[in-house]
């Protein structure tokens, strides 16, 4: 297939412009010197990047976002790793149902999930906002952790675990000495992916914010409602950079095709 398709090439270029164009515009405007978002930008300065660090709310919500993403990740791992192991290694009644329940947060629209959690966690059970936010993010991260780890486990020969057991290792010992070292890259990829999912989340977080507790993406929304300066563009560029870096790490670890495979 060496034949050249001019039409196809043109079409592909258009798609790329459509997809990436806005990102370039944001990037360009973030370095502008004027006080409103403008394209093409006028002048060149880093003042909007500096401004991010001057707005206190950005810094506090950034901390909340990081804490929630990390703590939530840890909790999701504690639940997700045993769940993924059980789902991929054992046959039991209700396995299919359990699998569906664990994956369902991906299938249910985030807004619905967020609203439901607001209704139950905050209104009915009267949990503190911070706790509710954390629970919401754990639920959000779980499917990613479970899917990626289950996928790693399915590529790992169960006979190797049996070998360890036949040599005298208990199930737990086998898991830590044999299974874990071999699904490490999957584990890290799952953690990074879940981290991103939590870090960038808007639709669940928006219901779980209250006085003093907000996440960075929510703070950005609030900021845009009040100001229209390029600070928001500068933050966006930083977020894109973090996301791209993490995705690059995941790709290097196990290949993104991992997540498109049905498993």
């Amino acid at each position: 297939m060496k034949e050249k398709h001019r039409g196809l090439a043109l079409f592909t270029t258009l798609v790329f412009i459509f997809l990436l164009g806005p990102l370039f515009i944001i990037m360009a405007t973030s370095f502008g010197d004027s006080t409103v978002l403008k394209f093409p930008p006028e002048g060149f300065s880093f003042r909007w990047y500096k401004n991010i660090f001057d707005v206190e709310m950005f810094m506090t919500t950034f901390k909340v976002t990081i804490v929630v993403a990390l703590a939530g990740n840890l909790i999701a791992l504690l639940i997700g790793v045993p769940a993924a192991y059980a789902l991929s290694r054992f046959n039991f009644k209700g396995k299919g149902l359990l699998n569906t329940i664990f994956i369902s947060p991906i299938l249910i629209p985030g807004v619905v999930l967020g609203f439901t959690m607001l209704k139950y966690l905050v209104v009915t059970f009267n949990l503190p906002i911070y706790t509710s936010l954390l629970i919401g993010h754990v639920v959000l991260m779980l499917p990613f952790i479970i899917r990626v780890i289950a996928s790693s486990l399915s590529n790992f020969d169960y006979a190797v675990e049996e070998a360890a057991m036949s040599l005298g290792a208990s199930r737990l010992k086998t898991f830590f000495t044999v299974v874990l070292p071999n699904i490490r890259s999957g584990l890290i990829a799952g953690v990074l992916l879940a981290f991103l999912e939590s870090f960038n989340n808007v639709d669940i977080s928006v219901f779980m914010t209250g006085p003093g507790v907000s996440t960075l993406p929510i703070q950005m929304l609030t900021y845009v409602e009040n100001y229209f300066d390029p600070t928001i563009a500068a933050i966006s560029v930083l977020l894109m950079a973090v996301t791209a870096l993490l995705m690059f790490s995941i790709e290097r670890l196990m290949g993104l095709s991992y997540f498109t495979k049905n498993n």
Partner: protein, 369 residues
């Protein structure tokens, strides 16, 4: 001395009963093979002994103790897998040392025993390699060393050679037998390769549909299969079914229609039932013309043959050149028979021939329903 016994064991997988009322006794120091077609329950039996599977019913006794509920990691049995199942993140040394570390053996002892074992499997100098850097045969030798170094009370092999190429398979099975004898360790070996099982085992258990059809020394099975299934499995392609059976001690006679008879020399101790069939290999069955029969064939006189003793009339249906010999499929009133004969000029299709069954080459087997 009896080392282990499976008593009335049943194993079910989901709703299918794989083993039902299964019994097996193994003597100390012997190498016993479980041989059979896929789905016969041989791997299930092995995994049950290993402790990977639990019996639904029955008892597993080992060294006089009830092992039925002893978990796999407390059994001290070595297991060698078809897929080698080495720890991919550990070096050869660490793979072999794994079981010893779990047993809290001290470092210097571990180093010594790992070295010894690597010597036994001829892998000295490979300590620092990872499994990914080894060939299939080397990997399987690491797996054997890993299973042996813990000084297991029993060694279990699950089709250990089926991922290796043909030449290596022959070398490895000699190795396995050598190591097994050298260490005198009781071994259960599962394979679907007949030659492999026969060449290394003290005893072979031929399995079919969850039961042991015959358990004997390889040479005994080869010469004297006891059931139709075993006979077919080891290449007795021809079966003769006559009606009435008559036993006068050293000779058993089966009577067919119109005076035809089949006389078989009887082995003492071989149990006879009402539903026996004669079985014979294509190499042992003789095919002859009328004129050859007039001079006597295969230890039977012309008169005996003429009276219908150990002879079947038929016509050549298919003739195949096999190199050393020709193989004929002969159509007879008793069905088709396969027979090999070395000859210069083959019989043409449709030639009328006689099939002669030498008395000592025919084996009586229990017919399978």
């Amino acid at each position: 001395m009896e080392l282990l016994s499976l008593q009335n064991i049943s194993v079910a997988y989901e709703k299918n009963l794989i083993l039902k009322d299964f019994n097996l006794h193994i003597q100390e120091g012997e190498l016993i093979s479980l041989l059979g077609p896929s789905g016969c329950g041989k791997t299930t039996t092995l995994r049950l002994i290993a402790g990977f599977l639990e019996a639904k019913d029955g008892k597993f006794m080992f060294k006089g103790k009830d092992y039925t509920r002893v978990p796999v990691n407390k059994r001290n049995f070595g297991f060698v897998f078809q897929s080698y199942a080495l720890f991919p993140h550990m070096t050869v040394y660490d793979n072999v040392a794994y079981g010893l570390r779990l047993r809290k053996v001290d470092q210097s002892q571990i180093a010594k025993r790992v070295q010894e074992m690597l010597e036994v499997v001829d892998l000295k100098g490979f300590e620092k390699r990872f499994p990914g850097e080894l060939s299939g045969g080397q990997r399987q030798r690491v797996a054997i060393a890993r299973a042996l170094v813990i000084q297991p009370d029993l060694l279990l092999f699950d089709e250990p050679l089926s991922n290796l190429d043909a030449n290596l398979r022959v070398n490895m099975r000699v190795e396995i037998r050598r190591i097994q004898k050298q260490l005198g360790i009781t071994t259960v070996y599962v394979s679907h390769d007949q030659e492999e099982c026969f060449s290394i085992s003290d005893k072979v258990a031929i399995m079919n549909k969850g039961i042991i059809e015959q358990l004997d020394a390889p040479s005994t099975i080869y010469k004297y299969p006891t059931t139709e299934f075993v006979a077919r499995f080891i290449g007795f392609n021809n079966f003769i079914e006559y009606g009435e059976m008559h036993n006068d001690g050293s000779v058993v006679t089966l009577h067919g229609a119109e005076g035809t008879r089949l006389e078989v020399s009887h082995r003492s101790g071989h149990p006879l039932t009402d539903s026996m069939k004669g079985a014979i290999r294509p190499d042992d069955l003789l095919v002859a013309t009328d004129s050859e029969c007039a001079e006597g064939v295969g230890g039977l006189t012309a008169a005996e043959l003429a009276s219908g003793l150990n002879v079947i009339n038929g016509s050549v249906k298919i003739s195949t050149f096999l190199g050393r010999s020709y193989q004929y499929v002969v159509d007879t009133p008793l069905g088709e028979f396969t027979v090999n004969r070395e000859m210069e000029q083959p019989f043409d299709r449709g030639t009328t021939v006689k099939l002669v069954l030498p008395r000592e080459k025919v084996v009586l087997v229990q017919s399978s329903k």
